[in-house]
Symmetry: C2
Subunit: 334 residues, 2 copies
Amino acid sequence: MKKELLKKIIKKIFIRHKLNSKHASICANALINAELVNAKAHGISRLKMYCDRIKKKVINPKPKIKIKKISPSISQINANNSIGFVAADIGIKQAIKNAKKTGIGLVGIKNSGHYGLSSYYAEQAVEKNLIVFCFTNAPPAIAPHGAKKKLFGTNPICFGTPTSSKIPFILDTSVSVINRGKIRVAAKTGKKIPPGVALDKFGRPTTDAKKALAGVQLPIAGFRGSGLAWMVDILSGVLTGGNHGGKVKDPFDDFSGPQNIGHLFIVLKPNLFVGNYNQRIKENIKRIKKLPKVKGVKEILYPGQSKFYRYKKNLNKKINISPNVAKDLKKLNA
Amino acid sequence: MKKELLKKIIKKIFIRHKLNSKHASICANALINAELVNAKAHGISRLKMYCDRIKKKVINPKPKIKIKKISPSISQINANNSIGFVAADIGIKQAIKNAKKTGIGLVGIKNSGHYGLSSYYAEQAVEKNLIVFCFTNAPPAIAPHGAKKKLFGTNPICFGTPTSSKIPFILDTSVSVINRGKIRVAAKTGKKIPPGVALDKFGRPTTDAKKALAGVQLPIAGFRGSGLAWMVDILSGVLTGGNHGGKVKDPFDDFSGPQNIGHLFIVLKPNLFVGNYNQRIKENIKRIKKLPKVKGVKEILYPGQSKFYRYKKNLNKKINISPNVAKDLKKLNA
């Protein structure tokens, strides 16, 4: 389906679910963006879930989002159980504003929900020539080091910076070996997952995606990855006032209340300490790209580069919709 | 040797190498701390290297360190090629001051050198009931993903938070599979390193510590660890005005000029968004510690906990000095 048409349909579906036109647009744009970068697990496969949560009154389609000024640099947002896209969109714009004014912007968001790709918000800051961190927590997926029960979300660490080229540097890495969304897609399509990625519910290694979803995902690098996941839970949950310590509900399976996910955005001006940041980062990337390459590697890519190429490549192509998702879409649009 | 005596000797050695008494104390304290937490690779095994660099005029023993106020939250420090300990000590204290005043403190440091353990500075902020990030870059050790030549340092990510108990949460993780210092100690003592940690200079896997030092270390989790190392290089080097992109000199092998390492400290008040952070973090840790444990695990530890236990255990014991280091110490103290 053409992306313009798909966007129109998604927007219409959200408006039917009581979102105002502006909020529906924000959500449609975020979902289309996920499709365009091939992050299918954050794309329209989630649309039905969002609508279900609105129907069951665990997402508030008409949130009264409050922005509280803590200082010229620091703002707090109470998202009033809005859909995560809307809270994050308002949050990153506020962090950008604070950074432009004072050099550094810090925004803590509570009572939010799943917001899709962190990179989508990081890109907004980088477009304004700013450096950015985005943190969010997520429902339990990873076992803390030493535990056999999942508790941490896949808790991405996201960092972005301008590069002086049109392709931003956006690192957006979950601290699980692979993204939970990829396991979810594998489970839906009946594909196997690689070994070393997850344990089943009895703590045994598995390559069965469904068993992995019922079990635990493994963090990258043992205690190091476990520590990074814990850090993200503290920054996005404990610090902001959001849920934390395993209390974020799974959006697909648990309709007993709102998710109350927390997000934390930190935004910096790049020229705080040097007059020529863009020149310096250009030089940095140039030096690294010039290194001798491992056999078979044509180009050393910086984080975000291959995502940008995927986006460009997909921009004028039709968006591929799986039969399952097409069925959902038809029902929701009926 | 008793730590009080060892400290006296180290201080005397630094004063002989032209540091003033206050700076010599800062350095001695940092080295003793590394010994007490069993981080031998950051302890007195480095003393001779620091003295050599002073003698060869690539560390400035009498630096004129300039602190420039960018805003009430943000300061820049030009360390004037001081020994890293001194620059970092001044830097973390400034970041703490800024955070206490405005809620958030950001300090960028350039023209510094190797500062030892990031956790040592993070602990200072946490002692003042603050949340902290410490970033520093380091000489080339890790190959970027896709490259066969080392360029990134082991570039630690360090995050600390108060816990409401006397044991701070301090994550201090290098983005290499193991610390370079550990490989260095293995090379000195003739021990093997685990497989999967490093490649030799021809790009072949090796367990020989000396060959690993001549080759490249592997980042955790492939492109994810490589991306995190790149992020730390940008934050500590590109942003601050320090060296970056593989230009930080090896302190042991390269006396052709100062290291010009960069550090970045971010410090936050924990109660910016919630009134009861300490209660919340206590609850967070409690929930995680209560999880069912993997067979053989007695307690789920948070980052920094085992380091704290090592410190406590070593506090009243003599510090073990290897014959090689004892020889260095004797010469420097002669």
